[in-house]
């Protein structure tokens, strides 16, 4: 499978509907400090099933901290939604989804209602999303998702913790 598009709406600082096309090869993302680059990475990890608010840099509010919390001009939202479009032209998806050309995974969170996942429009459990990405050798905590500060974290971690990282990738 190939990752082809990320759609974001109301997630962290991306209050307006935003689409990021992920083309083949190397796609660069640039911009000043604090403009929202790492939020994009978190949107991708979130739709792939990240279930720890701490790993999403959440504060006291738990996972609801990912919902746009307002600025001087705009009021806070109650809903955040991210969807990821996968191209299955190579027919390499797990059996349950392998019939389709495209697989759309989406996740929505509403204040006080928790989050729900959908795959191709059908409501599924978090586990189903985890399984889908595990079978395609990726996921929110894959070693290929190198968040900001991760390189320094590996340097400063104790050897026992580094072995755990190796085990996760096995």
């Amino acid at each position: 499978i190939q990752f082809s598009r990320l759609r974001i709406n109301g997630f962290k600082s991306f209050v307006d509907r935003t689409e990021l096309d992920i083309g083949p090869g190397l796609t660069g993302v640039v911009g000043p400090n604090g403009c929202g680059k790492s939020n994009l990475v978190e949107a991708l990890r979130w739709v792939m099933g990240e279930n720890s608010a701490k790993r999403m840099r959440g504060g006291e509010g738990g996972m609801e901290d990912v919902i746009f919390n307002g600025t001087a001009q705009r009021s806070a939202r109650d809903l955040a939604e991210v969807s990821l479009l996968l191209n299955n032209g190579s027919r390499s998806a797990p059996a349950a989804y392998n019939g389709a050309d495209e697989i759309e995974v989406s996740r929505k969170i509403e204040r006080d209602h928790g989050s729900t996942y959908k795959i191709n429009g059908k409501t599924v459990r978090a586990r189903d999303v985890h399984m889908l990405f595990a079978d395609t050798v990726t996921g929110a905590n894959s070693p290929a998702m190198v968040s900001q500060g991760r390189v320094a974290q590996i340097i400063n971690s104790k050897p026992v913790d580094r072995r755990l990282i190796l085990e996760e990738s096995a």
Binding site: I1, Q2, F3, K12, S13, F14, V15, D16, T18, E19, L20, I22, G23, P24, G25, L26, T27, G28, V29, V30, G31, P32, N33, G34, C35, G36, K37, S38, N39, L40, V41, L44, T71, A72, Q73, R74, T136, V137, T138, S142, P143, A144, M145, V146, S147, Q148, R150, V151, A152, I154, I155, P159, V160, R162, R163, I165, L166, E167, S169, A170
Partner: protein, 162 residues
């Protein structure tokens, strides 16, 4: 579980040794399971010998050398189990130009196989220049992120301005 870890360790170590020499432009390095006979309780240590220097553990290298050794380990794990997407958030911050160049060479080499797409977040001009396409994230309206597609021929000056 023990056998799986041992097999993963061997794969990753093989990739790591090759990648280290490629990214450092020489020298050699290896991984070791230390502090316990049972791999499941052991620690993973990195022993590195940058070109022309003596072999030492990770903590005695310079800031940039440690980062490059850690990047070698990350890609050794990646190559052991290639993934369709790889996201790198400012991994080039502590690197000098020569090392940025070698990391970009590695990304191009992996991307050329066609199985993996990369999202690379960076402030480094050299890295920007090696991308196939660029997105700029701006906060024209304070606190609100907006994504704009950037023409690669444009100058990079405006990208970093607040």
């Amino acid at each position: 579980a023990r056998d799986r870890l041992k097999a993963a360790f061997d794969h990753v170590n093989t990739h790591f040794q090759r990648l280290f020499t490629q990214l450092f432009g020489g020298g050699k390095a290896h991984l070791a399971l230390i502090d316990a006979d049972d791999p499941l309780g052991a620690g993973l240590e990195i022993y590195a010998q940058p070109p022309g220097k003596t072999l030492q553990s990770l903590s005695l290298l310079s800031g940039g050398e440690q980062a490059l050794a850690s990047i070698s380990l990350i890609f050794a794990m990646f190559l052991t189990n290639p993934s369709p997407i790889c996201v790198l958030d400012e991994i080039d911050a502590p690197l000098d130009d020569a090392n940025v160049d070698r990391v970009c060479n590695l990304l191009e080499e992996i991307a050329a196989r066609g199985e993996t797409r990369f999202l690379v977040i960076t402030h480094h001009r050299m890295t920007m220049a090696r991308m196939n396409r660029l997105y700029g994230v701006t906060m024209a309206e304070r606190g609100v992120s907006q994504l704009v597609s950037v023409d690669l021929q444009q100058s990079f000056e405006f990208l970093e301005a607040a």
